[in-house]
């Protein structure tokens, strides 16, 4: 056992760190530091830079553009990226539908879709949740009825993140209404330009419009867009959700945010002294840092164990990553609220911030903090709520 990075890993870390710092356009970085959403254009620009370097999809099989890096190196790569901070690659493509396609898709699907995912020529979104099926995903109702060489899809998806930008959506649809819950579900790839698709944005409590409802009204989908076998979609979805859980700890994001908290607390004065000099505040931050370091080590333990696990299975301990990762993300936004104080109050829509026609109200970094606090409530809800994660651990690990 040796938990220090090897020489080789340290050299790799320096290499990616240097590359990220040099290759990322400064304006994109500044926008993230300021707490703004990354725009579509910015993400495409960044993905193309990674793609040119050959690093757009490091965890994919080498034949599809992957790098063959060890899990630890992949982790280093992601950590360094989020600490640059640079935008994360679009997960719906590279972490979700991409791996489903190269694992369960046919050759035609692989050659058609994978390159365009890696280069972000195609923007993907996820069509899993429905209004009636949240934690109980398998109760979904969107129907796909076979009609010749096409499926006819009717129904509604919700919480579809960034659907407004999307070229494609991957969907779970019910193809056998008579089968038991999980058994009649298929995994379909649907062109967002298909007639009959309507996207309705949902405003979230932070004021943003990240998520959408997507309605399907007699949408015709060629059968060639079915992944794997009909009615076996639940298996592919489980595989996908497992992959989702691994990256969900967001250790790098939280580290970067703690640096930011310390930087801002050094600028804030409370009762005549710098906030960062108050023992109570420093200790509050340090307590979060401890939990984050423990999470990082747990994350690394899970990753190191990955090589030994059967392909496509998940360490149930990864549920810890979700629970603790989301708690820590929420704790960091609470600390930001502590730092900013009263100037968390003004509400400035993000498009106005970008326009910068008016002088900022309070410190120029203040306006994104309350929205971040509100928005971060979601991380314990999405991707399998923390309650569901606890049920998983109770059953799969504790045998209760």
């Amino acid at each position: 056992m040796d938990l220090r990075f090897t020489e080789d890993e340290l050299a790799f870390r320096d290499e990616v760190r240097t590359f990220f710092r040099e290759a990322l356009p400064p304006s994109i970085r500044e926008n993230i530091v300021a707490g703004h959403h990354t725009s579509k254009e910015e993400l495409v620009t960044w993905t193309r830079i990674l793609h040119d370097k050959g690093w757009a999809v490091p965890h994919w099989p080498v034949e599809h553009g992957g790098t063959g890096w060890s899990p630890i190196k992949q982790y280093i790569y992601l950590e360094e990226m989020s600490q640059t901070p640079a935008p994360a690659p679009l997960a719906f493509g590279v972490n979700m539908v991409g791996p489903v396609i190269y694992t369960f898709g046919n050759e035609a699907q692989k050659s058609r879709f994978l390159p365009r995912i890696a280069s972000l020529e195609d923007w993907w979104c996820q069509g899993f949740s429905e209004p009636g099926s949240g934690s109980d995903l398998a109760s979904l109702k969107t129907r796909a009825v076979r009609d010749g060489d096409e499926y006819v899809v009717n129904g509604q998806k919700t919480w579809t993140t960034l659907a407004q930008y999307a070229d494609w959506i991957f969907c779970l649809v019910r193809t056998d209404p008579d089968a038991r819950k999980q058994s009649g579900i298929s995994f379909l790839l649907i062109d967002m330009k298909s007639p009959g698709i309507t996207v309705r944005p949902i405003q979230t409590i932070d004021g943003g419009v990240e998520v959408n409802e997507v309605f399907f009204d007699d949408v015709r989908v060629p059968v060639e867009n079915l992944v794997g076998e009909e009615n076996k979609g639940w298996n592919y979805a489980k595989f996908l959700l497992g992959n989702e859980r691994v990256n969900i700890a967001r250790v790098g994001v939280s580290k970067e945010r703690i640096r930011r908290i310390k930087e801002l607390a050094a600028q804030q004065r409370v009762g005549g002294e710098r906030m960062i000099d108050q023992a109570e505040f420093r200790e509050k931050v340090a307590a979060v840092e401890v939990r984050l370091k423990a999470l990082e080590m747990t994350q690394l333990r899970v990753l190191a164990g990955e090589a030994k696990r059967e392909k496509g299975t998940q360490d149930p301990a990864s549920s810890i990553l979700k629970i603790k990762g989301s708690e820590i993300q929420q704790a960091t936004t609470e600390l930001l609220m502590d730092v900013v104080g009263p100037y968390a109050m003004p509400y400035i829509p993000e498009d106005e911030i970008d326009g910068r026609n008016e002088p900022s109200i309070g410190p120029d970094w203040a306006s994104t903090i309350a929205p971040a606090y509100f928005n971060t409530r979601k991380v314990s809800i999405y991707g399998g709520s923390n309650e569901i994660q606890k049920n998983i651990i109770a059953k799969a690990i504790l045998g209760l």
Binding site: T158, Q203, Y343, G362
Partner: protein, 384 residues
């Protein structure tokens, strides 16, 4: 010791709750918010008709002579409905200053207007550099013949963009963070040299940054005596905190109610989610927080009107700590138990979450008040 409402208080509670239930639903509120001032003039007039705007003022000043309990009742009802109107700004804050420190002329000039709704006022007592310390006043007022010239910047003035008059704190002597040397002035919001930058707040209400540049006011604009406004400001702030606590309790009640409703109707895995014991226990945690907050709000409301400034400050800070902590816990559980829909503007719960988060910030967050309480040796001492 008596926890019962009097007959009049029960009537007050019933009538304000009925009005809001009828006319302040979630959709109606959305429309009021979209208007010019960000609130409903029509509702404002109805509050006036019900006597709510006259409530805390003495009868001889044209008011109704209500006390702490009456304010608590009204603020709690306003919290339940998440109202947008400047009751807190005009009646509690500016009205509080007038009640405690206004002279006869000032009272008779202003209180009738506040009480009948024709005049709204705001209290501009915070500054950009001051964080939660209202004695951190850099705005200056210099003698100018009989009157004064005021220069400076005031921050986060609640409803400052729509009110007719302002009460402004300014330094007439002393150093930047001295408690002595602060004075209060009545300033016309449209006076020369007053510029107001209004904006919405995270909770859908309104506030303004206000700059005063060589603003001239007469001798009659000074409230109380020169340089000794701090006891007035701190007393009004304490009463304001008690009122905010009551508003928060109203919000909490509604958040708890909405969450229970959701637990009882939302179905997953073939059953209502309210049947899951882990979620039941968390709904209980919310309930416990609600009741503890209610208890502390009663306590603070009662002591906030007392004359012992230290006892008052202790009780008020303790209540604000409780409310701030409960806001975190109740907010967190309410959103989490609602799941995805709790994250949207389309459900009421998120609006309550945002308002209670802002209430935590208004007039000092839980950290600020915990520090203040600890510096005053806490609630339990050898002699108490």
């Amino acid at each position: 010791m008596d926890f019962d409402l009097s007959e009049e208080q029960t009537m007050l509670k019933d009538s304000v709750e009925r009005l809001l239930k009828d006319q302040y639903g979630f959709e109606a509120r959305g429309k009021y918010r979209a208007g010019d001032t960000g609130f409903s003039e029509k509702m404002w007039n109805q509050y006036a008709e019900l006597g709510l705007l006259a409530l805390p003022f003495a009868e001889e000043d044209g008011g109704i002579g209500g006390g702490a309990t009456e304010t608590m009742i009204v603020m709690e009802a306003f919290g339940k409905a998440l109202i947008l109107e400047p009751f807190f700004a005009s009646v509690i804050l500016a009205g509080g200053v007038l009640r405690h420190a206004g002279n006869g002329e000032q009272k008779s000039a202003l209180i009738p207007g506040i009480a009948d709704g024709s005049l709204t006022m705001a209290l501009a007592c915070a500054e950009p550099q001051g964080r939660y310390d209202l004695f951190d006043v850099e705005t200056s007022a210099r003698k100018n013949g009989d009157g004064w010239v005021i220069d400076g910047k005031k921050a986060l003035v609640l409803h400052g963009d729509s009110v007719g008059k302002l009460i402004v704190s300014a330094r007439t002597s002393g150093g930047a963070r001295d408690e002595d040397g602060i004075s209060l002035f009545i300033v016309d919001a449209g006076a020369d040299g007053v510029s107001r930058h209004g904006y919405p707040t995270q909770d859908g209400l309104r506030a303004a940054e206000i700059t005063l540049q060589s603003v001239k006011v007469g001798a009659d604009a000074l409230i109380g005596s020169e340089g000794s406004a701090w006891p007035v400001i701190s007393r009004v702030a304490d009463e304001a905190v008690a009122a905010l606590c009551a508003e928060a309790v109203g919000c909490f009640e509604k958040m708890h109610e909405l969450t229970l409703e959701y637990l009882k109707t939302r179905s997953q895995f073939g059953t209502t989610i309210g049947s899951f014991q882990a979620l039941q226990h968390r709904a209980v945690d919310m309930f416990v927080e609600l009741e503890q907050s209610r208890s502390m709000t009663m306590y603070a409301s009662m002591l906030a009107t007392g004359d012992d400034a230290v006892e008052r400050a202790r009780a008020v800070s303790a209540a604000k700590v409780q409310i701030g902590e409960s806001a975190k816990i109740i907010g967190r559980e309410a959103i989490q138990l609602h799941g995805g829909v709790g994250m949207t503007m389309e459900y009421a719960i998120g609006h309550y979450f945002k308002r209670t988060t802002m209430i935590d910030i208004l007039f000092g967050d839980a950290n600020h008040h915990l520090k203040r309480l600890a510096q005053m040796d806490g609630l339990i001492r050898e002699d108490a």
